[in-house]
């Protein structure tokens, strides 16, 4: 489904500030895989996401989605295959447009945009039905501006917008990090449900170790631009936070540090 080969990414190459973000990354995801990614600050997690989505271009290496090489395609072209939820609840929606207009924009993913009405009666019925799956009452507020929603509501809407057109790959970049614990848990449960029901191939960056172990069928740990640990479904079942930290220190030679890291 997703294949990355020999991907290397530098920032500010040739200057004093040169930073190696990714080094010779090789990653293969099967269809339906749900992979969680953890790692220290600056480990390259977000860069990895941006290389897949097209926000950044790798210096070397290839990215293949479903047999198509995409590393030189622009972000908007790749979005046909990729759904994405950002950390910032403000990032995934257009605040001055209504809920139904935002959904219509998401609905047009991968289709050519023409002079047909964005919101039609038929789509509205579908949107209402999809929103009711979130169970937070958004289905009754189709014409409300998204800017009036709370952070949690916006993130739930972003999640729905990223998934309801069934993209080939779903990228979640610490999408619960900016929410309070209750909201974060709600969004996490929604994510689990949507990924399972739609059988989406998913990559999720998280700073919550417990969440990283609990969710998905594979866990990847990154450090200094490399993938240093890769647990499959069986290994992951045996995993605990302590074991994970020990493994990390053994391989990387330093302690795991992330100013947002949540251990429990």
């Amino acid at each position: 489904m997703l294949e990355m080969r020999n991907v290397t990414k530098l920032f500010f190459p040739g200057t004093l500030d040169e930073k190696v973000a990714l080094v010779d990354i090789n990653l293969h995801l099967n269809a339906g895989d749900f992979v969680t990614i953890i790692g220290s600050n600056g480990a390259g997690k977000s860069t990895l996401m941006n290389i897949i989505s097209g926000g950044l271009r790798p210096e070397t290496g290839t990215v293949t989605i479903n047999g198509t090489e995409v590393q030189s395609l622009s972000e908007h072209k790749r979005s046909e295959w990729i759904g994405r939820v950002f950390q910032d609840p403000m990032a995934g929606t257009a605040p001055n447009m209504t809920i139904e207009e935002n959904l219509a924009i998401a609905y047009a993913r991968g289709k050519s945009r023409g002079l047909r009405f964005g919101v039609t009666h038929r789509k509205r019925v579908f949107f209402r039905e999809q929103l009711s799956l979130l169970g937070i009452g958004l289905e009754n507020r189709l014409r409300a501006k998204v800017g009036q929603l709370s952070g949690g509501e916006r993130q739930a809407l972003s999640l729905l917008m990223a998934t309801f057109t069934k993209p080939q790959i779903l990228l979640l970049d610490e999408h619960t990090a900016a929410l309070d614990p209750n909201r974060a848990e709600l969004i996490t449960r929604m994510t689990e449900k949507l990924v399972r029901e739609l059988r989406l191939t998913t990559l999720m960056v998280t700073h919550n170790m417990e969440q990283a172990i609990r969710l998905g069928n594979r866990l990847i740990m990154m450090d200094r631009g490399r993938i240093i640990l890769d647990f499959n479904e069986e290994e992951k079942k045996e995993l605990t936070i302590e074991k994970l930290l020990q493994e990390f220190e053994k391989i990387s030679g330093h302690k795991l540090s992330d100013d947002k890291m949540v251990f429990g």
Binding site: E75, H76, A94, I105, A108
Partner: protein, 315 residues
């Protein structure tokens, strides 16, 4: 004042298409596009020269619209493909258009005196006085139709992508819209409307002049801002209505201002700048005043609660 009011309103309606154009760039795409100063003249110039050369005056308006579209296309390409800041792209095009407009017109001004335009001539008006009202209603209906067409466009899939581009361009890219294309479409359409307005104004006033567009962007901004302050912007329908009617209100304000004895016609640009400054400062000041007021009230409430709780503990 009352005698000239219909004429003032009609003029405001002709300029309303220009302020709808400014609304697209300023409010939807989120940057003031200075191309407007040039493309308004381009529209007026193209319409005038086509009429002089014997083309149908309606066809001249179509020509004006496409001339503006092309000017907007250039600004859009400079901004997106050339990666030049939006404001600067507009300035560059505005300057370039000044020369281009001279070339289009051949002379600094073209008179349409005694030449057939879409508006009835003075002698026709003398013969049939009721024509004034027919023209007034036609202009109002024409502007209304264009406003409604724009509303419809802004609700299509392309229109939604255009609006989202100004609102959150990262988000709309992640849903597959090419923001370069949506920006170019928006800026082109905007300048098309501005030039159409220029073509109408030239025909209605009976001349085109290379300087007719100077300061037009500020007038457009003034119209949009005044309209928003009066009519609100709760959705697209109201926002475009506000832009169009804002232009009418602006013309009425100018008309009133010019009746003040010590103000002269040449003070017009200063008055316009003043209106925009007031319209930009007042809402911002109101907002910060309101929020600091709310904060103070809330703080006092908290203090009172704290004192009450402390009092109980002591008791």
């Amino acid at each position: 004042m009352l005698q000239t009011l219909p004429a003032t309103i009609q003029l405001g309606l002709l300029y309303a298409l220009m302020s709808l154009g400014v609304y697209i760039t300023f409010r939807i795409l989120n940057f003031p596009d200075l191309t407007v100063d040039g493309s308004f003249t381009t529209g007026g110039g193209i319409a005038a020269i086509m009429i002089i050369q014997g083309y149908n005056p309606w066809l001249a308006l179509v020509g004006a619209f496409f001339g503006g579209l092309l000017a907007g296309l250039c600004t859009g390409l400079l901004h997106t493909k050339g990666k030049i800041n939006g404001l600067l792209s507009g300035i560059l095009m505005m300057i370039a258009l000044h020369s281009i407009n001279n070339r289009i017109m051949g002379t600094p001004n073209i008179s349409l005196f005694r030449i057939e335009t879409i508006f009835p001539s003075t002698s026709e008006l003398k013969a049939h006085p009721h024509l004034v009202w027919v023209v007034f209603v036609c202009v109002a209906l024409g502007v209304l139709v264009i406003k409604l067409l724009l509303d419809l466009f802004l609700h299509t899939d392309i229109g939604l992508a255009l609006r989202a581009t100004g609102d959150n361009d990262r988000m709309i890219r992640s849903f597959g819209a090419n923001t370069d294309v949506t920006k170019i479409i928006g800026i082109s359409l905007s300048n098309g409307l501005v030039a159409l307005s220029g073509g109408l104004v030239a025909q209605s006033s009976g001349y085109a002049d290379v300087y007719m567009g100077v300061g037009m962007i500020v007038i457009g901004l003034a119209s949009v801002i005044i309209g928003e302050a009066i009519f609100g912007t709760r959705n697209v329908f109201f926002a475009t209505m506000a832009a169009a009617l804002g232009s009418v209100v602006y013309r009425i304000i100018v008309d009133l201002a010019l009746r003040v004895r010590w103000l002269e016609a040449s003070d017009l640009k200063m008055i316009t700048a003043f209106i925009v400054i007031v319209a930009l400062i007042v809402p911002a000041a109101q907002k910060s005043w309101r929020s600091s007021n709310t904060a103070r009230k809330r703080a006092l409430e908290l203090n009172a609660e704290q004192n009450a709780a402390g009092g109980e503990r002591h008791a």
